[in-house]
């Protein structure tokens, strides 16, 4: 009798283990593996995602196969629009900033970019960053970006339904460029007006935390620090504690 109970117990245990382990193998993470690629600023025109290098060139999104990293091979071109300026990868999507709007593309298994949706905006330069829930787009009216006047704002766009991006909020800025979001902390590089930092926990409502006196043009958000690009310096900002955001290093190397 004991032997039978033991056997039933063992079999149940074995079956249970099999069920749990097989479920685990079905889980596919959407987070991109950046260990082989690193990360770019939001003003980038190049982006490496997996085995593909994407390059935007004012009207097109060009795709190169870099399965063999030292042998890039041009694959195809997808026409996006006018004034295409920036590219921001997120999961298996590409967020493309152009002077007319934000274009969102899906990366198919073979690397081909496939159009999903777009959000049109007033003609301006626009870098974009996203955390998958909201896309943060800066619009800048400076002469180099807009030929007919324009606006200087930060737009918060709901992209939780990727097929249907919706503008939720607009915040006035002076002349913003790069933008970054990480752990609900939003960095907006408002150049001469400084580095503006917001708490985005209640996005689309943003709460200003502080403005640092840095001529910030672009930003790369790392885990707890951000690299901020100024015209001739790079600053590093620790944002691990939103009540004590501080600059930890600046670099202007004189040789």
């Amino acid at each position: 009798m004991k032997k039978i109970i033991l056997n039933i117990f063992n079999i149940t245990l074995l079956v249970g283990l099999m069920i749990f382990t097989s479920c685990e193998s079905d889980v596919v993470t959407k987070a991109p593996d950046v260990s082989s690629t690193g990360v770019a600023g939001s003003l980038a025109r190049f982006s490496v995602v997996g085995d593909y290098l994407y390059v935007v060139d004012n009207t097109n999104l060009n795709m190169y196969d870099v399965t063999q990293a030292d042998n890039p091979v041009f694959m195809k071109t997808v026409n996006v629009g006018q004034g295409v300026e920036t590219i921001f990868p997120f999961a298996d999507q590409l967020f493309i900033g152009s002077e007319n709007g934000l274009f969102i593309y899906d990366i198919a298994p073979d690397g081909t970019p496939e159009y999903i949706s777009e959000y049109q905006h007033f003609t301006s330069c626009d870098p974009v960053a996203t955390d998958g829930q909201y896309a943060y787009v800066t619009l800048r009216s400076a002469n180099e970006c807009n030929l007919n006047g324009g606006i200087d704002v930060l737009e918060v766009i709901d992209v939780s339904d990727i097929q249907n991006p919706v503008l939720m909020r607009q915040y006035e800025m002076e002349g913003p460029l790069g933008v970054g979001i990480r752990n609900d902390v939003l960095f907006v590089c408002d150049v001469e007006a400084g580095l503006k930092i917001f708490n985005a926990q209640n996005a689309p409502n943003l709460t200003p935390i502080t403005t640092l006196d840095i001529e910030a043009r672009d930003v790369i958000m790392l885990e707890t620090t951000a690299l901020v690009l100024a015209p001739n310096k790079i600053f590093q900002v620790d944002f691990s504690d939103i009540n004590d955001i501080k600059i930890i290093g600046s670099m202007r190397i004189e040789i």
């Binding site: 190049f46 490496v48 030292d70």
Partner: protein, 173 residues
């Protein structure tokens, strides 16, 4: 008679090209800066000052930042309190950077170059793909509205633009 002579003089001067004509257009605009020499030459050298930074990229505690249209600074950020500017790679016309494994991709005017950066003391070009960007993008200043001096390809590749006073510029965007 003297008065007549005087008036004739003025008239002849006015009608000559010595004096500015009424319909001369003198305006501030951009003039192309040409690069002499081989624009495809990529050279690794000792660290250079950060002056006109463009785009940047981070991987494995290293920061790569472009010196607009000149090259890429490589900065060792292992200790963020004390980053070290360790190398400069001169790449004419460069703006953008991306990396996969030990291969760094950069634009070299209208070409895409792939550099092996596994050993910073021996950085080498391992591949080059032409026609990354349409050629014509070199012939006018990007993101600019105004007058500029037309590009003359005979003079070489355009490495940048400088703001100058132009007289009767033939090109405009």
């Amino acid at each position: 008679m003297k008065k007549l002579l005087f008036y004739c003089l003025i008239l002849s001067l006015a009608s000559s090209s010595c004096l500015p004509q009424e319909d001369d257009l003198v305006v501030m605009g951009l003039k192309p800066v040409y690069m002499n020499g081989d624009w495809k030459a990529i050279t690794s050298m000792s660290p250079q000052p950060l002056q006109n930074l463009g785009k940047f990229y981070y991987k494995d505690e290293m920061i790569f930042v472009s010196e607009t249209r000149q090259g890429i600074h490589i900065i060792d950020n292992t200790n963020p309190e004390n980053p070290q500017n360790v190398k400069f790679i001169a790449i004419p016309g460069v703006l953008d950077i991306a990396i996969k494994n030990n291969i760094l991709y950069a634009d070299n005017f209208t070409d895409l170059v792939a550099l092996n950066i596994a050993d910073l003391e021996n950085i080498e070009v391992v591949n080059r793909v032409e026609n990354l960007y349409p050629e014509h993008q070199n012939y006018y200043p990007a993101n600019f509205e105004g007058y500029f001096e037309c590009v003359d390809p005979e003079k070489g590749v355009v490495i940048g633009w400088e703001e100058v006073e132009l007289r009767n510029p033939q090109c405009r965007r």
